[in-house]
Symmetry: C2
Subunit: 376 residues, 2 copies
DNA sequence: ATGAAAGCGCTAACAT
DNA sequence: ATGTTAGCGCTTTCAT
């Protein structure tokens, strides 16, 4: 139907029969060649390929889909948001889908719309996708969604009824743990956490990592402040925490909130990292250039997408073969200048006192590392 | 083929004949009802709808596409990047496509791959999309690409051969002009510009707006520093400019570069905005929370996408009817604390001297406006 | 190793 | 207003 227009006018778009006629073979042979089916002699293949080339032939995907029951397309349910995490994941998915020879269809969930995921899913299934990936899952109170194609869930535990559900771990828990431990190892008595909205799986994953680290170090678990990923919510959280002089270290669930939080500290007259250390999450493009350059952790979006898609395609194409094992994701902590040992003694204020550390030492390399000196 | 699975097991997915049988009508009537064709009695319609509902019937899109030659889908050629601008545009496009009742297919251009746009386009046309939108176009030296479906180009001049090419202006030129004028009106003798890569249409658009403003004010046009949208490149540009004491105002083509640039100024011992003013472009989520809060302009991504898609769907569905006129995009300048009048006299240094302005006045509201006090 | 025939599930044209 | 008859351009049997 629709294809790159032929240069000189509009000879009707060629069909496989046209190719067959030109090559002097049956239409079925053309189909065989184009689908790389066995049992075609080399020179037959050549003749068909040449004829196809000459006519500028391209297969009609609708007809293929109708006849075969497969579309060679994968649908992604994504967030209708330009947040760095979801956007990066989407980019990674697009690339991975292309690499495995499929095409991508996108359905975004409508913000705030309950049942958004179910709606987006329904739209994709209507379109006949061969598999679905759910990026950045959010709880919607929907206990069970039934889907009749394989599903890849990025980062969440399976709660879908589908022929196959595969999962690729974003590794956020480990990253959150590393971020928190970095702070604890710097000597902070404990680490506060500014989380994302509870409905997000990402939020809970990071929370879990933070808790793990605190427990492993025997540190107290302070109450969690909940934000909404926005810098504005980080700022608000920052004002809240600034009132408590015992807070010396904060792990924010994303960089935007970390930046808002830092801003609030500065306005409250507290220095970062001298008075309070802050770690973000994501390593957004500007993280190395804000003041102070932000210590953060980096998520391997592309790796996760690639690995997840390999699994998905595997179950689509060989439902019966055992799944290949998933490789672990690397944990990348990027230490910059927003973290340092705690101040020698807690800032005056009520509440719990932080444990003074005599040997605060120069662990904190407060230099804007990573800041390059030449333009790329 | 693929649809939400029926709850209790797997009765074969119903076809339109099944619906027809159950409703006691012909298969064609089912088709008529589902396509909202005229000449169907009200009760016939009801019977069909009820039967469809009862069976959980959903039309097979592949069959529809094959029979009708249309897919009701739109393809978007986008950048394989999570940059705020392109990502926001993609989100806007997805929403707009959904709103007009189409579905979205995505093909990203491979970074650095020449002919990336052509390749992505070919993939989409292969898939039988009814229309294509080219987001954030880049020159690839491809003089002419022929496409046989309508094309919407976001922000660029038409250089495609297609049945119809429509354009929606992002309005970046006007925004760039407003950003530059803001600086000039603050009293700066001239405004330097850190641009994006020349191949991008966005870059040229912003350049044009900047030039217009300078000319309108009779200001000198300093040489352009070219970046690559990254904060790192803005940082490099900032080091370059920091060497020239006459520079008092800079307009960066996006916020990331502006933030990198500010960082370089601070490291060079120049204060923002006291010594040098900086305006960004995009109003990224953290812009209000970096130090100093960034003055910037905001692009109406959603509006542009919505308006452009309305045009595209119009030419797809009514190729012969005159195009509705496009509305102008609003120009939104967000003044924060990174801009102020120039310093009373130029900082010592060689080169052109800035014109001293005796009445620098308190135009610059260096307060972090917009910083909310409560969490959303 | 190659070909002929029969659909895939719809929409479109043409009756009635 | 409703039904009948052909395809749409492939992939799939099943022959040969």
């Amino acid at each position: 139907m629709t294809r790159l227009a032929r240069p000189g006018g509009s000879p009707p778009t060629p069909r496989s029969v046209d190719v067959a006629r030109l090559a002097g073979v049956s239409q079925k042979t053309v189909s065989r060649v184009l689908n790389d089916e066995p049992y075609v002699s080399a020179d037959m293949r050549r003749r068909v390929l040449d004829a196809a080339e000459e006519l500028g032939y391209r297969r009609n995907q609708a007809a293929r889909a109708l006849a075969s029951g497969r579309t060679r397309s994968i649908g992604v349910v994504t967030l209708g948001s330009a947040l760095y995490g979801p956007a990066s994941l989407l980019v990674g998915i697009e690339r991975a889908v292309r690499e495995v020879g499929y095409t991508l269809r996108v359905a975004a969930t409508i913000e705030g719309d309950p049942g958004g995921i179910a709606g987006a899913l329904a739209s994709l299934l209507d379109q006949g996708v061969d598999g679905v990936v759910i990026s950045e899952p959010i709880d919607e109170g929907v206990s069970l969604i039934s889907v009749d194609v394989p599903v890849l869930v990025l980062g969440a535990p399976p709660n879908f009824a589908a022929p196959q559900v595969v999962t690729a771990r974003v590794g956020a828990r480990l990253l959150a743990r590393a971020a928190t431990e970095h702070l604890l190892e710097l000597g902070h008595a404990t680490v506060h956490h500014v989380a994302g909205p509870q409905r997000w799986y990402s939020t809970r994953d990071r929370l879990a990592g933070w808790r793990e680290a605190l427990r492993a170090h025997g540190a107290d678990e302070p109450p969690v402040v909940e934000g909404d990923w926005s810098a504005a919510s980080g700022y608000a959280a920052g004002r809240e925490l600034a009132g408590d002089g015992t807070v010396t270290a904060v792990f924010a669930a994303n960089d935007d909130m970390a930046i808002g939080l830092i801003r609030a500290q500065l306005e409250a007259g507290r220095r970062v990292p001298e008075d309070i250390s802050v770690v973000g999450f994501d390593d957004i493009p500007v993280a190395a250039y804000v003041t102070p350059p932000l210590t953060t952790v980096r998520q391997p979006f592309d790796e996760v997408a690639r690995q997840g898609l390999a699994l998905l395609v595997h179950v689509i194409e060989k439902p019966d073969v055992e799944l290949p094992p998933a490789a672990d994701q690397p944990v990348e902590l990027v230490v910059r200048a927003s973290t340092a040992p705690p101040p020698p003694r807690p800032i005056p204020g009520r509440g719990r006192r932080a444990i003074p550390h005599a040997h605060g030492g120069p662990h904190g390399q407060p230099a804007g590392s990573e800041v390059p000196s030449t333009r790329p």
